[in-house]
Amino acid sequence: MSSFKQKLLNAPYAFWSFVFVAIPLLMVVYYTFTDKGGAFTFENLKILLDKKYISVFAYSIWYAFLATVICLVIAYPLSYIISKMKSVFQDTLMVLIMLPMWINLLIVTFSWKEILSNNGIINSLFEAIGIGKVEMLGTSFAVVLGMVYCFLPFMILPILSSMQKLDKSLIEASEDLGATKINVIKRVIVPLTLPGVISGITMVFVPSISTFYISQKLGNGMIILIGDLIERQFSVSANYNVGAAISLVMMILILISVAVMNRFADDNDKGGA
């Protein structure tokens, strides 16, 4: 194909993604390093060095990390169990895992809020059996639970699909060669499903660290995460410059976290081979 036609074919998309993907990111950088009048400044980044912001960043990373680990701990064995079932059941269960994703996050988060509230189902149950009420809303427990719930399917689906693609004969072969069950899992199944795990981790970690609705609803206004900070700059303070600075920091934090995880996975891969 002539290079002119090539360009013609690519022009609309190249234009679109340049204007609406690349330039907005440049705008984030631009706003980060300017003040309200448009003059160059480091001020927006400097105020983020304050102790209170650093603790928000630290907590957000910690909660997102916890949510990711819990999702992994639930999703991995669950996928393993499902992948061992007959294919008819597998399809049905897959449907059942995907189904909750169809209900908007705002709805399910609100529903959790009602379940966890002081007069909610769980606390009524606790009272009935004599434990007494346990304050759950407004605690880190509620927020992490919300994250785990909302993003769990994103961990299950990639892991499950990588388990389904596993070559059964490989497992049989290693069992024939005398490998114990644990060894089979450690040496064969885990390394081969690692790509699924990695994409699951990213798909849970990124939305968890950036959420603001979950922390707003389940945190009772007492738990504030990076996402809330950005949303506040947009909706309350109307300070886009600081909002941009926080966004930039969050993107960098995510890049670092993902790079660390990939590195870890690489090492593991080599170890397993």
């Binding site: 209170k52 912001y53 603790s55 928000v56 509230s117 002081n118 007069n119 304050e135 809303l137 407004g138 009772n220 206004g221 007492m222 504030i224 947009f234 909706s235 309350v236 303070s237 109307a238």
Partner: protein, 365 residues
């Protein structure tokens, strides 16, 4: 397969749209004044959440009624604090009608973001009580028309709070740890601490704000939640026992939870007037005036006053014998029972930035 869902959904919508062709009774006394004047134009309204009669329990749905009478399409949007309204306005969204509170109107006027109203078009302005004219934020009555008046008070659970509180200090009482709510917005939360400490709520002295912030930080471990409209659910279900909120909303909560009591604390409290304005960049100024006039119609204003349970600045409402809050002690306290009140004023941006910074320290603590 998922396409089928959308087809079903759209069929459902089509059905529902034909099903709800309203047949409510018409021929009201005011209808002729509004008929088909600006048919098929659009009006963008920006108001507080749940701050207009919605026609539940057989009442009037004010927006729907306005649309029906005028043929104007209303795009109705809501905000939950003056600050978020201001932020949205600054993000360049254009509205035709705004209903912010006093101090925010002062700021908007100072920043030249509002336009002067054409009072020759507001034939119903005559109903506005003289008490709510020439207020400090719009001394010459050029930019705003009062919509609602309210005061902040303490709402508490009578069965759990003993003795009945008369002071803001109950919000710092360790006995009620984990049951106390407060405002999730800086100005209202600060004001409570300021009243308690006897500091001017409109102070421009940084030290005053520091003191109030320190007081608020002391309160942090006692709080169950910082709320705005979430307060309804929490007080109605008895989940929380002490909350500061607006007098009118107390009656809404009382409908569901009859154990609730209300008091204006002795240290004084904030009084506010929410007024209707037209921003400078409004796109449909004529329809905006029509809408303001419509809200002032005695019948419409009465519907709003009954639904919202706030004090009305409309004399036609207050003197109406059918009005269920006529001479109500909380909404319209008699002279000798009037609490000490103070309006918020717009504070210079430097002090504002300062107390917003303090507020972040309080909530991130």
């Amino acid at each position: 397969m998922k396409k089928i869902i959308s087809i079903i959904l759209s069929a459902v919508i089509a059905f529902s749209l034909t099903a709800c062709g309203s047949t409510s009774n018409s021929n009201s006394d005011y209808e002729a004044n509004y008929k088909n004047k600006l048919k098929n134009t659009e009006l963008n309204v920006f108001n507080w959440g749940e701050y207009i009669a919605e026609g539940e329990d057989g009442g009037m749905n004010v927006i729907k009624e306005f649309e029906k009478v005028t043929g104007i399409k209303v795009n109705y949007n809501t905000f939950d604090s003056n600050e978020s309204m201001y932020a949205k306005l600054n993000s360049g969204t254009a509205y035709d009608i705004l209903i912010p509170s006093d101090y925010m109107i002062e700021r908007l006027i100072n920043e030249k973001k509002l336009q002067k109203l054409d009072f020759s078009k507001l034939t119903n302005y005559k109903y506005i009580s003289d008490d709510y004219k020439n207020l400090y934020f719009d001394k010459k009555n050029e930019y705003s028309v009062p919509y609602n008046v309210g005061m902040v008070g303490l709402i508490y659970d009578k069965t759990k709070v003993n003795p009945a509180p008369d002071s803001w200090s109950v919000m710092w009482d360790k006995k009620y740890k984990g049951q106390i709510l407060t405002f999730n917005n800086s100005r209202d939360a600060f004001a409570i601490a300021q009243f308690l400490l006897g500091i001017d709520i409109n102070s421009t002295n940084k030290k005053d704000w520091d003191k109030a912030a320190k007081k608020l930080k002391e309160q942090n471990p006692l709080l169950q939640a910082r709320v705005m409209d979430e307060v309804f659910g929490k007080m109605e279900s008895g989940e929380a026992t002490i909350a500061p909120y607006y007098a009118g909303d107390y009656y809404t909560m009382l409908d569901t939870n009859e154990n609730l009591g209300f008091v204006y604390p002795k240290e004084g409290t904030n009084i506010f007037v929410d007024s209707i304005c037209i921003p400078k960049n409004a796109q449909n100024v004529d329809a905006a005036h029509l809408f303001i006039n419509f809200l002032l119609e005695p019948k419409v204003a009465l519907e709003n006053a009954e639904y919202l349970c706030y004090a009305s600045p409309n004399t036609a409402v207050v003197s109406n014998d059918e009005y269920s809050f006529k001479d109500d002690e909380i909404l319209y306290p008699s002279k000798d029972k009037k609490p000490k009140t103070e309006y918020y004023h717009d504070i210079d941006s430097k002090t504002r930035d300062y107390f917003e910074k303090l507020w972040e320290e309080v909530i991130l603590n």
